[in-house]
Every structure is written in C-alpha cells, then in structure tokens.
Amino acid sequence: MGRTGEPPLVSVVLPTLDRSRWLPRSIGSVLRQTWNDLELIVVDDGSTEDIAALVNGYGDPRVRYVRHDRNLGVAAARNTGVEAARGRYIAFQDSDDEWLLGKLEAQLADLQPLDGTRMALCGVLRMIGDATRGDRRVLTYPRTPTDWSHGVDPRIVLASAVAYTQSWLVPKTALLAAGGFDTRLRVWDDWDLLIRLSKQVAIRARLEPLVVSARSDRSLSDDPARFAHDLPVILNKYADDLRTRPVDHASLRKLLATWLYRAKRWPEARAAAWESICLRPAQSAAWSLLARAFLRETLT
C-alpha cells in the first residue's frame, strides 16, 4: 500500500455518462479488489446526474473525480483518465461492469517482473438477450477456447475485430507510446488501440474470466452505422499491415460489408463485398452478401 504522496502502482480509469444506478457495483468491485494499491479515476463525460456527489460519498482517498463539461465521447474520456493517471500500470473499467475481486492481483502476477514490456489480458463473461423472452445467454471473450499460452499474436489482434478495455492491464508508457484512444472512432476505439499496443508490448493473456459485463438497457453498440463508420477508418490506418495478410483483409472487408448491409447502405455493402471477394474468391458468405445487397439495391 503506497504511503501518502507516493503514487499507487495501478490507476483505474472509469469513464461514465450518467449510469449512477450501476456505479456502486462497478466502483465497488474496483475498491474491494484483493490488490488495493490503486487509484480510481472516475471521468464524468458530461453527465446530467450528480456523479460528483456519488463519487465523493465514498470517502475513499483512492477515488478521484474528473469532469468534462460537455460530452466528448468515451474514447476522449479514457484519454483524459490516462493523462491524469499517476500509476505505472493502467486498467479500465466500464460503468456497467463488475471485476472479480482477484482481477488485479492475477494480472499483476501474470506481468511479473513488472518491467513495462508486457500487458495483461483476461477473459470476460457477458450476458446478452432478453429476460422477458427468456432467451438470455452468456457470451464469452474469447468466443471459443483459444490457445493463449504463448501470448496473443499482433496479427491475431488485427484480424479479431473485438476487444474489451475492461480486460486489460497496460503499462502507462506503452499507452502513451501507442498514442491513446482514437477519438474519431465510435465503437472500435478499443480494438484499434489494442492493435497499436500489440506492436509495443507482448500480451500475456489468461482465458479465466475476471470481468463480468452486463448488457444494460442503453448500450453503445446497438447502432450499425457506428460500426460501418469505424471499420473504413481502421482498414485505412492499417492498410500496410493488411497488405501482407490477404485472408484477414478479406475477412475484415466482409465484416464491413455486413455492417453496411445492416445499416441499409446497399451500394456500399455491395462494393465492400466485392472487394472482399477480389481478395479471396472462395468465400460463399461474401458472394451471398454481394447478391443480397445487389437485390436490395435494385429493388429499392
């Protein structure tokens, strides 16, 4: 435990936009960690609810409150938190989520010796579906059992199209060197940063789920337009890396086509599906998407 004045080892960044109903759980699971040498920076991204009062109510000297006067988006809020962080290692928490109480301890053990050359990653459990329809089920990260015993390859990260900041423990130096969250992105700022981080540091990952994520009533991820917006930006940023990985490039183009299709942008969806096919013709799903997008385009 650090003495007053000495910075803690870990800074936890928790951006929030209202959601005060969920904060006791997300904050509680950080403050009650078995590893308690930490500071928790709650970044209020222009909430209308009184988050300051809630945060000050804890009376815990490890909790800090930072506010944006207007809503700048979650990527900017995380960057604000990282800038304000005094710890050598940074973790992220979402307002809706819960950390298992041994998360930091386990990830710090994975990173020994703490020389800043590695970041840690863990499994995440997430509930999706509708309780009223009785179709709730669990989604795991990673989706299927993966061999992470030798770390996570940057090329896998590039192809993955998924990341959970809540599962990370990253050296602050690596975050700064990688350049922080890209505020142009609306949903994939986490995956985008992980791609850059994977080039800075090795990733020590454990499959064990140490974060529990609940799908709350208002989720960031419902709008296909956000995904359709982000993916071209990312494909552009990493065009050089993707040139050497045509299979992954094809799969990401197909993913773009899928989101464009869901966003009802038929001509663009058709074009993206065709680009994917050009990179790798043997993809029946891409042909099917091409056909469906073409039909929609001609019928409307």
Binding site: R32, L100, M127, R137, V138, P145, E208
Partner: protein, 312 residues
C-alpha cells in the same frame, strides 16, 4: 427489512473441506458484498489441510470460524452452521464458488418486496474448462415448481450458493437430511415448497467454478442410495405420475448397476419397467446389468459415444 440492533440481517453459511486455495476467494466475495449487513460462518468439515489458516487471514469481525472434528458432509456442516446463525435471512456459499458483489443486495430486495416468497433462487455462471454456460433455476411451466421431475429433472441443479431463504421457512421445513450425500439441497427444496413460495431472479449472480473447483459432493456413486432415501421419503410427489416415477427408478437402477449391486439394479429397473413398459432405456439397462459393474460402465461409455455421434 430490519433486524435487531447488533444482529446481522443475513447469515451466510459456508461449509468447507480441504480447499484452502479457493476458500479465500469464496470468503472474500461474501465479505465484499455491497449489502454488508451480514455474518459469515465458515464451517470447517474436519479438513486436514490449511483451512483454518486460510480463514484466519481475514480480520473481519463478521467472520466466524467453526470446526467439526469429524466429517459430516456438506448437509451436516450446513445444519451445524445454521445452529450458530443469528440472522433472519440465511444464505449459503460453497468453498469453490464466487459471488458477484450485488448478489445479496438483489436477493434481499426481492424478499423484501415479496412476503409470499420464502426462498429466493438466482441464476449463475457455470465456468467449465472450455465452456461457460448460464444456468437458471426456475420453475418448469406455469410458474410451478414440479419436483416430480426429480433431482436430475431439469430445473437445473438447485445449487445452495444461489439461495436466500427466510429463517422461518427453514424452521418449518427442517434441516438438510444428512443421509443424502448428493441431493440434499434438492430434497430440502421439496420440503420448502410444501411450506413456502419459491421465487427466482433470472440473472447470474454467482459463479460456479468447475475449473478450479470440483463437484466433490456430486458423485454418481451415491446416486443410488440418495434416490432410495428420496423415494421412500416423498412418495406423494409421484402419485398419479407413473412415467416420472419410472424415470427415478431408472436413474437409481443405472447407478446401482454401475457402482453397487447388479441385483439391486435389476430390482429398481424392473420397477421402472412395470410403471412404464415403454421405457426402452430401462430395458436396455436391464440387459446391461448382466455384464457386471465394470461391464455396465463400459457399456454406458459406448452408449454415450453413440448418442453423441448420433446427435452431432
């Protein structure tokens, strides 16, 4: 809901046997609950490893440690814990499981708003090597808890770490039947249903760890004796339900054939067949009993492989 000053609202009973590593994690997840008005009674069921030392690392005055000098099994340890409990609401924790920090808060709120309910159940995550599932404990249909389907009958396993039960309800229903080594929680559920309403929350509020933990107390070799106790104790459950009763005898027969006595197996399987002559599985198992215990187990494995192939 209020309690007397100085008396915790919730008593959490945690039986433990030889699992000091996961025990610390289990204890911590109880003491860190957002609803902190609780006492935690750790009942050491005659462990021979560092259980006391593990519990002693917690300096929380809400934690009480009790040691049983001879092994009584989970049900006996829970009964012993209840004797020392002071709260009006009773919860249970297993030494290899983890509660999410809002579990008690949500269950206390549920019981506060539903005076007609005596036992509140929750769903949970079952984390196994390679796969995690969400298990709900909920009624069969029309909101009714139909115990005639038996302990392997489908509304999941009634896992005690998911319980929050009123003290009064337990007083009326009785304690865990210590003759049962596997299904004592299910059987107590039957008695609770006779005196109180059972409700459930459809969300995962704890984690059952099948990776680091085990299911020490769910061992197929005790199914036969457990089923014999259950069938003799609760015949009324199966009145007018011959097919469901046949299924219970089938389960008993299989367990007898695989672990105990082929003759006892044949007796149970014949009862199943008499009740439900169309139960072809019982006929198959009956034939299998002539292969002896190991032979029967081998046949079971072949059958499992066949059905996996067929259903894949």
């Amino acid at each position: 809901m209020t309690s007397l000053p100085g008396v915790p609202l919730v008593s959490v009973i945690l039986p433990t046997h030889n699992r000091p590593a996961t025990l610390k994690r289990a204890i911590h997840s109880v003491l860190a609950q957002l609803h902190g008005d609780l006492e935690l009674i750790v009942v050491d069921d005659a462990s021979d490893q560092g259980t006391h030392a593990a519990a002693a690392t917690f300096k929380d005055p809400r934690l009480h440690y009790v040691r049983l000098d001879s092994n009584r099994g989970a049900g006996g340890a829970r009964n012993e814990g209840l004797r020392r409990a002071r709260g009006t609401l009773i919860a249970y924790q297993d030494d290899d499981d983890v509660w999410l920090i809002d579990k008690l808060q949500k269950q206390v709120a549920f019981l506060s708003s539903r005076p007609d309910i005596g036992l509140c159940l929750t769903g949970y995550y079952r984390v196994s090597p390679g796969v995690t599932t969400y298990v709900r404990m909920r009624p069969h249909s029309h909101g009714r808890w139909d115990f005639a389907h038996g302990p392997l009958g489908g509304f999941g396993v009634i896992a005690t770490p998911g319980w929050l039960v009123r003290r009064d309800t337990l007083a009326a229903a009785g304690g865990f039947d210590e003759r049962l080594r596997s299904w004592d929680d299910w059987e107590l559920g039957v008695r609770i249903a006779q005196v109180a309403g059972i409700g459930f929350l459809d969300e995962p509020l704890f984690i059952q760890d099948r990776v680091q933990g085990g299911h020490m107390w769910r061992n197929r070799s005790v199914y036969a004796s457990d089923m014999a106790v259950i069938l003799s104790k609760h015949p009324e459950l199966w009145r007018g339900k011959p097919k469901l009763l046949a299924r219970q005898y089938f389960i008993q027969g299989r367990a007898e054939a695989a672990f105990n006595s082929p003759e006892a197996a044949r007796r149970a399987l014949m009862r199943a067949i008499r009740l439900d002559p169309a139960a072809w599985r019982a006929w198959l198992a009956l034939a299998g009993t002539f292969a002896g215990r190991e032979g029967f187990r081998t046949l079971e494995q072949r059958w499992q492989a066949f059905t996996s192939w067929r259903d894949a």
